[in-house]
């Protein structure tokens, strides 16, 4: 019996023999290498996009340091402990979202921030981790694929924070949190019939969502459908971004030589639209390289998902990896005019701290799942 079980675990070479250096420090070398390369490239682009402002790069570097530190710290926590924290984290997160709606600070016309005197932060960021953790916690208690009841419960657990965040209003984050929930269900093996019917429900609900949207959100959707309708107003972003990318061509205009970005035609070139700077300065070739890097990180996350030892780890690692992908897809789709403009940054490259810290914490969780292994020897 023990032998049978040990043979099950022994399918993964990681579970055999002495743990290696990386496993002992609970980091995944390929993933770490991919992340470091990505962040390095990001700093280079940021230097250009911020008009060669060393201070901006310095601040970003400090944030990266904090984020990597957090990643390493989180990686040390075993999946079992994480699992036990999940309901608490979720509860605290949702409570803070309610608090934000009641007493939150208004920034850029939306209530997103909680001010704790020293730290001001967005509770919605916590939910990007808490929702997939909560769902993984719920679904990992029973056999996979989940039964309908649990799918419904998981959907409710996702929708509560999604609605609260959408009310702030922060369409981008609520989208990311919703996608985190969907990704857990997907990785959990939810049946295709259920996936399709869920898609049907979403299609039916869309008109209702439209009614509930704020004017500026509706405007964004309309502008997305026809950006030229308002070239100086809300269509300006997307028109200028397409010009930047298109004028980059195959080889790009060269680092620091993007006219769209340096002459300030491209709005939010540091943050949500930094992808257009890459397209302009590094061209199609540069973008392919960036995509290769992103794809490498995502595939590595999926490999870790496939090789994870328990349900909770599998669901969480898969969901976090796929949320990272959603970031990439929504941002690049938006900047290239494929998708409507929703405030989703280009992960690990856009200037700004909050999403970066959450993302890196997520990668810490993925690394922890991969490196805290029940060894075959211990099992026997």
């Amino acid at each position: 019996m023990a032998i049978r079980s040990s043979s099950y675990f022994s399918e993964d070479p990681l579970d055999q023999g002495r743990p290696g250096f990386w496993q002992r420090i609970h980091l995944d070398a390929p993933l770490l290498a991919g992340l470091l390369a990505l962040c390095g490239f990001g700093l280079m682009v940021l230097f250009s996009a911020s008009d060669q402002d060393p201070a901006a790069v310095e601040r970003q570097l400090v944030r990266l340091g904090v984020a990597f530190g957090l990643m390493i710290a989180v990686a040390q926590v075993s999946p079992a402990r994480l699992r036990s924290w999940s309901p608490l984290l979720y509860g605290v997160g949702v409570t803070m979202l309610i608090a934000v709606l009641l007493v939150g600070d208004v920034g850029k016309g939306a209530q997103r921030w909680l001010d704790f005197g020293i730290v001001r932060f967005q509770p919605s960021e916590i939910l990007k981790l808490a929702v997939p953790m909560m769902l993984a916690w719920m679904l990992s208690a029973r056999a996979l694929p989940p039964k309908l009841l649990w799918v419904v419960l998981a959907a409710v657990a996702t929708l509560i924070p999604v609605v609260l965040i959408a009310k702030q209003p922060d369409l981008g984050t609520s989208l990311l949190v919703a996608s985190a929930g969907v990704m857990v269900l997907f990785v959990a093996g939810m049946g295709w019939v259920m996936i399709l019917s869920l898609a049907g429900v979403v299609a039916a609900v869309t008109p209702l969502v439209w009614i509930g949207l704020h004017d500026y959100q509706r405007e964004r959707v309309l502008t997305f459908l026809n950006p030229e309708s308002d070239p100086l107003g809300s269509g300006y972003h997307i028109i200028q971004s397409k010009i930047a990318i298109g004028s980059g061509g195959i080889d790009g205009k060269g680092w620091l030589n993007g006219t769209q970005s340096h002459l300030e035609f491209l709005p939010e070139r540091n943050t949500d639209f930094i992808f257009a700077v890459i397209g302009e300065e590094f061209g199609f070739t540069g973008i392919l390289a960036l995509f290769a890097l992103y794809l490498f990180i995502i595939l590595r996350g999926l490999v870790i998902t496939a090789r994870a030892q328990d349900r909770f780890g599998r669901l969480l690692a898969g969901a976090l990896t796929l949320v990272f992908f959603v970031y990439v897809f929504v941002n690049t789709g938006m900047v290239t005019g494929l998708l409507p403009v929703v405030g989703v940054p280009l992960p690990l490259i856009s200037y700004g701290g909050t999403s970066m810290v959450t993302l890196m914490a997520g990668f810490g969780i993925i690394m922890g799942i991969h490196t805290h292994r029940i060894r075959s020897r211990a099992a026997s």
Binding site: L144, P145, T259, L263, A306
Partner: protein
């Protein structure tokens, strides 16, 4: 149990692994979609977006040419350009105009009159053309705005060349002035050539020679950022400055003429009969043209408009007066040319003239009559009866036909904008305008330069020069030559003339001799000169008509109802170098008030005081 559990776990692991691979496939598919999109943007549409990107950052800016300068005959600068910094607001680029100006006034001093001028110019600006809110910024103000300027979108400092007229009122009527281009002017100018220009000639020489003075616009391609700020210049084609004008005008003589008129309202036109060059063109009183360049204030403008002396009125080229007796030598010539009189034929003046079969008595200015007079005596005494008789025998058709050849009744074509043509009455004119037949009595009145006959001082000067020239009528010109920037020599402007041919060339001499006698012993004898001979003719033009039995009494009439005094002359008789016409409004008799003005101008000119180049050959005459 454990077996089943283990099987389940394996199945689950395979399920999750399969989902991971499906996810990987979906991820690759989704990213491929973005890549396809990027290929479309960056490869297929690259050229299109490259053009858009270039259009975004590269703007073509016009470079205005510097306006040509204006020099008088002796090289004295009459119209200059001086650099000036002004603060301009492009209204189309400003969201809240009042708030912007309010905020601006905390950085740069803006006075109520600046606001008033701004409001006025705002009404007649071109779209996207900046309107100045402050003029003549000091270097300190320019520096202060440079620090705070980024806060004001649509507000810019503009360095431009602003026209100044150093001699101000002395040149106002002849040069005119430039001002900001308004909507009406915009409709008729070549917009591309004026793309960077703010000023255009509004009157006088500035308007007449606009094409020469303005120059050719240049362009530069600049790289701008999203806020329109210029980052660098990519390419430029420099503008070609306007041509400098060198005038016949002698500013010294111009000043003498103005002083000679003193406080009187009137005009002087002096020209060189040899080439038609205007030596002096004065309308008194005058005004400061510099006030108009940047837009005159409402109060200043009202003051000029409401002044009874009408300083804005250019009497020299727009003042249309009955020429009075200054027309008589032309009528005499017409009689000689038509053969209706000779130098020996005598006419008896009894003090009045009546047409056969009419009771109306056309009176001579001398109530008692002149007795029997030859043509020469009639001119010297300025006898009216002689000319009633002569005009009557000529008839209106021959009279007006002959006088028109001297330029009466039509603009002379001088290069001063706004000239009027006077009125040479004809049968056809009366039928057209008054819908009436011509009365023989009107011919008599025209014969002494009264009635509906109107001439400008300029026309009188041109016609007088034609007598001095023995019939050569030259189109008067203020500008002698135009010099392109950088060119070593000025290019002479062409002369336009036509010649009146008389069957008997001696008749010119006859008239000139008579005009010389007018000054030697006739109505203008008080200006007789021993240095040189002047040929002249006095004139008096009625401001209002006297009744049949009323007497004109200068002493009891209010000033504004007094007759206008006129005088035309040229000198020296033997070799005419100056011809002129003088009018003193309500000055009374031509010999008494207008002739002395002419004498001072002729003295100044022939005395050589204001013409250094002529000093050597006139110096001897002065000593006589």
């Amino acid at each position: 149990m454990l077996e089943a559990n283990l099987e389940d776990r394996k199945r689950e692991a395979r399920l999750v692994a399969s989902r991971a691979w499906i996810a990987a496939a979906l991820v690759i598919a989704a990213l491929s979609l973005v890549v396809v999109r990027l290929m479309h943007l960056q490869v297929d549409q690259h050229d299109h977006f490259s053009v858009l990107s270039r259009d975004n950052r590269v703007k073509v800016q016009p470079l205005p040419p510097a306006r040509g300068l204006v020099y008088d005959a002796n090289g004295i600068l009459l119209a200059d350009n001086h650099p000036s910094f002004s603060l301009e607001i492009t209204i189309e680029k400003v969201d809240d105009l009042d708030a912007t100006i309010e905020e601006l006034s905390r950085v740069i001093r803006i006075e109520p009159r600046d606001r008033a001028r701004f409001e006025r110019q705002k009404q007649q600006r071109m779209r996207f053309q900046g309107v100045p809110i402050r003029l003549n910024l000091t270097p300190a103000e320019v520096a202060r705005f440079a620090v705070d300027g980024h806060r004001f979108a649509g507000v810019d400092i503009r360095a431009e060349l602003v026209r100044t007229y150093p001699l101000g009122e002395h040149t106002a009527h002849v040069l005119g002035y430039v001002g900001r281009i308004n909507e009406q002017e915009l409709a008729r100018i070549d917009k591309s050539n004026y793309a960077g220009s703010h000023f255009i000639g509004k009157g006088g020489l500035e308007k007449a020679h606009e094409a020469l003075l303005h120059g050719q616009v240049g362009y530069q391609q600049v790289e701008v950022n999203a806020r329109g700020r210029v980052i660098r210049t990519l390419e430029s084609q420099p503008p070609v400055s306007g041509k400098d004008l060198h005038l016949y005008l002698d500013i010294g003589l111009q000043q003498v003429a103005k002083e000679a008129l003193g406080e009187e309202r009137g005009a002087v036109v002096a020209l060189d009969p040899r080439n038609g060059g205007i030596l002096a063109l004065v309308s008194n009183p005058s005004f400061d043209p510099n006030l108009f360049v940047e837009g005159i204030s409402q109060t200043d403008y009202q003051a000029l408009l409401s002044s009874p002396d009408k300083p804005l009125f250019n009497r020299a080229v727009r003042g249309q007066y009955p020429p009075g007796s200054t027309i008589k030598q032309f009528v005499a010539l017409a009689g000689l040319a038509a053969g209706v009189t000779t130098s020996r034929r005598a006419t008896y003046c009894s003090g009045a003239f009546s047409l056969p079969g009419h009771s109306h008595r056309f009176r001579c200015w001398r109530r008692g009559g002149h007795g029997a007079l030859s043509l020469e005596q009639a001119l010297v005494q300025s006898c009216d009866v002689y000319f009633y008789d002569l005009a009557n025998r000529l008839g209106i058709d021959r009279l007006s036909g002959f006088l028109s050849d001297f330029g009466f009744g039509a603009p002379t074509g001088i290069d001063v904008a706004g000239e009027l043509g006077g009125l040479m009455p004809t049968r056809e004119w009366k039928q057209r305008v008054r819908k009436q037949a011509w009365y023989p009595g009107e011919t008599l009145i025209v014969g002494i330069g009264q009635g509906s006959f109107l001439a400008t001082p300029l026309q009188l000067a041109v016609a007088t020069a034609a007598i001095a020239n023995h019939g050569k009528v030259i189109r008067p010109q203020v500008a002698r030559a135009a010099q392109a920037p950088g060119a070593s020599a000025a290019e002479q402007l062409p002369l336009v003339s036509h010649t009146i041919n008389l069957a008997d060339e001696h008749q010119w001499g006859l008239i000139i001799d008579a005009m010389a006698k007018v000054v030697e012993s006739g109505t203008a004898r008080r200006i007789r000169s021993t240095d040189y001979r002047i040929a002249g003719k006095t004139g008096t033009s009625q401001v209002f008509s006297l009744g049949q039995n009323q007497r004109y009494n200068a002493a009891t009439l209010p000033k504004h109802l007094k007759d206008h005094a006129l005088f035309v002359a040229f000198a020296p008789v033997e070799d005419p170098r100056i011809a002129l016409a003088v009018i003193v409004e309500n000055g009374g008799g031509g010999g008494a008030t207008a002739a002395p003005v002419a004498r001072r101008i002729i003295d100044a000119y022939l005395g050589g005081a204001s013409e250094p180049s002529a000093q050597s050959d006139t110096g001897g005459e002065r000593g006589d």
